[in-house]
Subunit: 223 residues, 4 copies
């Protein structure tokens, strides 16, 4: 009942409600996954199941190649991208994918969100970067995510013409990054509609980001 | 109790809640209908009844000329347009009409939504097209919908200066198309506010759309 | 229990929930009133009471000069404007005032919302007009509303630098007008952000408006 | 049970729900505090606790230097700024901090919201002013708030590249100011997207603000 897999089934199921609550998803187009601690497994949303029918029991368990180990439905069609991230970024414990409106609007122009809010300096430590255009069906999306985020402070990447992927030390941190990514993408978009947001000096960004990761006791994992 | 008509009454009644949930409608200005499988009948919203008073029992059953067969209220004032679509597109099992904000904003300019998001390539396979300006009262609206969507990949049409009609193999598919239409109309609008979204190559659109219809097991019905 | 006053208390109290549901109001800044049929009385929101504490019992009854007849609180600070409308427009049975976002944005520029959607032609029959800048404290606001709406098809007026007033044959019709006013103000605003909405020919506006008022059995009252 | 501290614990806990209701906050990024009447104490949100887990019991009590007096969690990381305000503005009984979208968009450009709505003249009596860029970690933010709001009619300040702080005679008044600040920041932003809002004459702003503070019996405290 409280095996690591069961805990992750419950956590992943519940965290999808945060995507709904913050308006990051419509219909079934967004998903959360978590690595099962101590195992080469991940837990992810079933494909095509509405958010209010999700429960710990209908979550899908896959190995890190994306092959289903437990589950009656197909896993999310984005499973290959999640699995690729877990295989190549051992410090990542959670991955989230959405088409949230404002972040996707930046992604459609292939433009990074500049770091012009102190909350962005805290959470992202830099502009939110753009990843390559990549088609679903093989490892292209996963590779694009890893190439962009490896060694980057930001836990979020805007995949060109597509949407957002975020990572975290666990699934909750990845969901928080997805929520904050849309929030700052929206605020900076709206600010730029009537002029140019003021830049924040690189030194100040560095100081804010350092403080956020240390004073608040957050480990720099999963970045 | 479980006759095809009763099933459609329940389905159509419940699907209106999705229009409310996704913010596609205000007051009573949007409607869902379904063809009754195996009969020359359709089930549609009653006119002027608020969404939270809809139930299977107050749905209206009409023949395919829009004449009421069962029901105490008048049918939606858009019934003629729905009926025309069912008469002329036998593969269509569901029709939805809304004045959803962003899609109607494109419709007011008479401008198609360009296909610049991978989710659009999946779901619409092309730009979302514009249909003619047409007045209510005869078959003009229905004709405009059919002329525009016949042979088109997109299940959605922006009727000029008016709003959106979507079709599907069943009512649920048409509702999904209405939800996705507003979602991409909003994201592309917001993206264009600060520059031009990057185009997606026609080949890539074709590949994404083909995969979506086949790998995911969706039949190309109702398009 | 079912006196005309009691019926209006219940109706006015409940209709405020529609303002909340459609996001037309924040805090306590919007109000609905109704004329009591057959009496020189109106029922209106108490001043400063939050929307979720409204009940039939705490509604305020005033005469048509705005003097309180029944009620423990002060009436809405906009009561003088409502009362002025009832005194000068005998066909009006309900009045609504909001600062809804998009309508107020047009009002802040002193610009009418052009009639470029078929739903506007139906409901408003013309551009939504702008009324004068007027200060609270005497009959200026009421006079501005009446001067603008007398003989006009539109049941809504954008009071310059202020917000919206709507009228109707009863309070429900005035609330519907307030909901539709914000809806079309938003859609037309968004449409104009990326170009000019197409005009609708005056003939077509006239035809749509005529049909809406007659075919749908709606009486042209309160305009 | 009904000590001043207990009353403030309940009030501060409940008022956070208004920030959620009006969409001013995401995740845990916004906070309310109240001065405990008659004591050199303040009550504030615990750091990092989600809004739906807040209760009177987990609120944090601090002295006016921001040192925790009662509470199991750390206090909000913005406690130093709140405390500074209480130490330097004895008439202030409540402080609110948010990163609400539209207000923060103005703050990111370092631009004041011009007073072009009668509701702004009532509530703010002037443009909503901009405070300096200041880093978290010492008294810079608190000093910036106090310097900007001391002697100013507005109960709200836009801290450059950061977000909003509001003050009030009690916590409820500060929350109201935060709600109204976002509401007018949004309306004025939207108005300016399609042209310039009309100015309101200084005389009229003064008259409206004077009336609002006196006729409505509101004391000019906390400004």
């Amino acid at each position: 009942m409280n095996s690591p897999i069961d805990l992750m089934r419950r956590q992943v199921s519940e965290l999808h409600q945060e995507l709904v609550r913050y308006g990051l998803v419509v219909w079934t187009a967004g998903n959360v996954s978590a690595r099962v601690p101590g195992k080469d497994l991940l837990v992810i949303k079933p494909s095509g199941v509405p958010y209010d029918e999700l429960s710990p029991r209908n979550m899908i368990v896959c190995d890190l190649d994306g092959t289903v180990v437990e589950g009656d439905h197909s896993p999310s069609s984005d499973t290959a991208a999640h699995a690729y991230v877990y295989r190549h970024m051992p410090e990542v414990g959670g991955v989230v994918h959405t088409h949230s409106t404002y972040a996707s609007a930046w992604a459609a122009r292939g433009e990074a969100v500049p770091c012009v809010l102190t909350a962005m300096a805290d959470e992202f430590g830099a502009a939110i970067p753009v990843g390559p255009f990549a088609l679903i069906g093989d490892d292209s999306i996963g590779m694009g995510i890893v190439e962009t985020l490896q060694g980057h402070r930001s836990p979020a990447v805007l995949m060109k013409s597509h949407g957002v992927f975020t990572i975290g030390k666990d699934a909750k941190a990845a969901v928080k990054a997805a929520v904050m990514c849309e929030d700052v993408a929206r605020t900076v978009h709206i600010s730029r509609q009537l002029g140019e947001p003021l830049p924040i000096a690189q030194d100040d960004i560095d100081r804010l980001n350092h403080r956020y990761r240390t004073v608040y006791g957050q480990r720099p994992a999963a970045r």
